[in-house]
Symmetry: C2
Subunit: 243 residues, 2 copies
C-alpha cells in the first residue's frame, strides 16, 4: 500500500535518521540515489527501500512505495533523488593492512573524498578520531561515492590504537608542513599507518610525538597548504606505488 501521508509512522522514523542522535540509537542510516543503493546492496546492508518508482524493488528487501513529496521530504540533497534506502551501519572489522588515521577532520566533503581516495589506493583500514565528523552524515556518504562500503572504517581514540599498531610492527607516519620530511624521500614500511590532521590546525602535538616519522608534501611558497583530502590522496598514491 502506497504511503501518502507525512504523518505516517514509517515516514516519521525515516525523518529521524537525518539526525546523528537517532542514527546512533537505531544503528541505521540513510542513503540516496541508485549508485549508492547498488553499492549498499553488494554488501547486504540494505534494510528498506523507499521510492515512488516500483522498479527499485529488490527481492527479499522490504519496499515502501511513497509519494514523490515524501521522497523530497526525506531527501537531504538540494537536487532531490528518486530512491532512498535505510541501511544498517557497517560492522567494524579488525585493523589490517595499510592503515590511515584521521585526527579531527571536520569537513564532511573532505572525509567523503578521503574515503574515496583511500579505497582507490588500497588503504585497508581507516580510523576516525572520536572528534572527526560523523561517517553517516549525508554529505560524507555522497562525497565518498559509495566507497564507505569498501574499506574497514572504525572510530577510536587514536592514542590507544597507535600503541596497538606499534606492538604489531607498524611504522607510524604523521604529517607536518613545517617539520616533516619530503614525501619524495620517504621509504614506507610494509606495515604503514599514516595520520592526517585537522584542516586548519593539523595534527595534535601529542599524536605527533607518537610518530616514527613526519611527512611533508613540498609545495610552492605561494601556497599556504593543500586541501586535506588532496594531501591525503597524494600520500596514499605514494604509499600504493611503493608496494
Amino acid at each position: 500500500m502506497k504511503i501518502e501521508s507525512i504523518n505516517n509512522s514509517k515516514v516519521k522514523a525515516w525523518l529521524k535518521l537525518q539526525n546523528k542522535k537517532y542514527r546512533d540509537e537505531e544503528n541505521l542510516f540513510l542513503i540516496e540515489g541508485e549508485h549508492l543503493l547498488k553499492e549498499a546492496l553488494k554488501v547486504n546492508l540494505v534494510k528498506e527501500i523507499i521510492s515512488s518508482d516500483i522498479s527499485f524493488k529488490v527481492d527479499g528487501i522490504p519496499f515502501y512505495e511513497v509519494t514523490p513529496l515524501i521522497i523530497k521530504k526525506i531527501s537531504m540533497q538540494v537536487s532531490g533523488t528518486n530512491v532512498i534506502a535505510v541501511v544498517k551501519k557497517i560492522p567494524e572489522k579488525e585493523i589490517l593492512g595499510n592503515v590511515c588515521m584521521l585526527d579531527n577532520i571536520q569537513d564532511p566533503g573532505n572525509l567523503g573524498a578521503i574515503i574515496r581516495s583511500a579505497t582507490a589506493f588500497n588503504i585497508d583500514t581507516l580510523v576516525l578520531s572520536l572528534d572527526t565528523v560523523d561517517l553517516y552524515n549525508e554529505k560524507v556518504i555522497r562525497a565518498s561515492e559509495g566507497m564507505i562500503f569498501h574499506l574497514n572504517i572504525i572510530r577510536r581514540d587514536l592514542n590507544n590504537i597507535i600503541c596497538d599498531l606499534k606492538k604489531k610492527g607498524y611504522t607510524i607516519y604523521g604529517t607536518d608542513v613545517n617539520k616533516g620530511h619530503d614525501l619524495k624521500n620517504i621509504v614506507f614500511n610494509e606495515k604503514s599507518c599514516i595520520i592526517i590532521g585537522n584542516e586548519g590546525k593539523g595534527m595534535s602535538n601529542t599524536l605527533k610525538s607518537s610518530c616514527h616519522e613526519l611527512i611533508n608534501i613540498v609545495i610552492s611558497k605561494d601556497c599556504e597548504s593543500l586541501n586535506a583530502s588532496v594531501a591525503s590522496s597524494i600520500i596514499f598514491y605514494e604509499l600504493d606505488r611503493s608496494k
Copy 2:
C-alpha cells in the same frame, strides 16, 4: 558616512555582482573574508572595501562602512563574513611554463581545489574551456583559498590553444581511465600541457585525438574513479617532482 539602507545605490550595485551577467559587464567580482582580501591586496586589484568594522580600512582604497545587515545581505556564505571587497577581474597573461587545461569542469568546488593545487605544484597557466564553470563564482573563489591571484588563468576554445602550444613545442597529455598509460611511467616533457576532463564524462573525444599521450592513474578495481580535483592534484604533483 555609514550606509544603512538596503536601497542605497552602492548596495544595489554590489548585490548585482552576485550574478555572472553583471560580473562580466562590470569586469568586477566580490570576495569575502580577511584571507582573500589579503591575497587580492597583494596583486593590487581591490577597488572597494565594504565592512561594518573600520579596522579593515586600507590606505588609497575607497572604504564603505555599512551595517552588519548589509554585509549579511551581500555575503553569499552561509556562515557570513566580516569584510567584503569589490575586486577587478584578473588580467589574462601570455601562456607560459607548465600548462593545465580544464575541459568542461562543472563543480565550483572542484575548480577552486584545482586552482589551489595548481598553485601548490607550480602550474603557471590554467586554461578553462568555454563551458567550464565561471572562475568568479563565489564557491570557486572560496575553494581556491585565494590562489586565483597566483597563476595565470584564461578562458579559451581549447582546440585553438592546443594548436598554438604544439607549434611552440609543447607535449599535450590527456587523461583517459580506459586507454591512458600509467602515470608512474610517464616521462614529462620540459614543456608540458595536461588536460583534465569533465567530472562525469571525462575529456571530449575531439580533444583526446589531439593529445600526444593519454595518462591514467591506476586505482583499485573497487573504485570507479578519482575525484577530478584529486586526479588533477596527483598529476600536478608528479609533473612538479619530475622537474
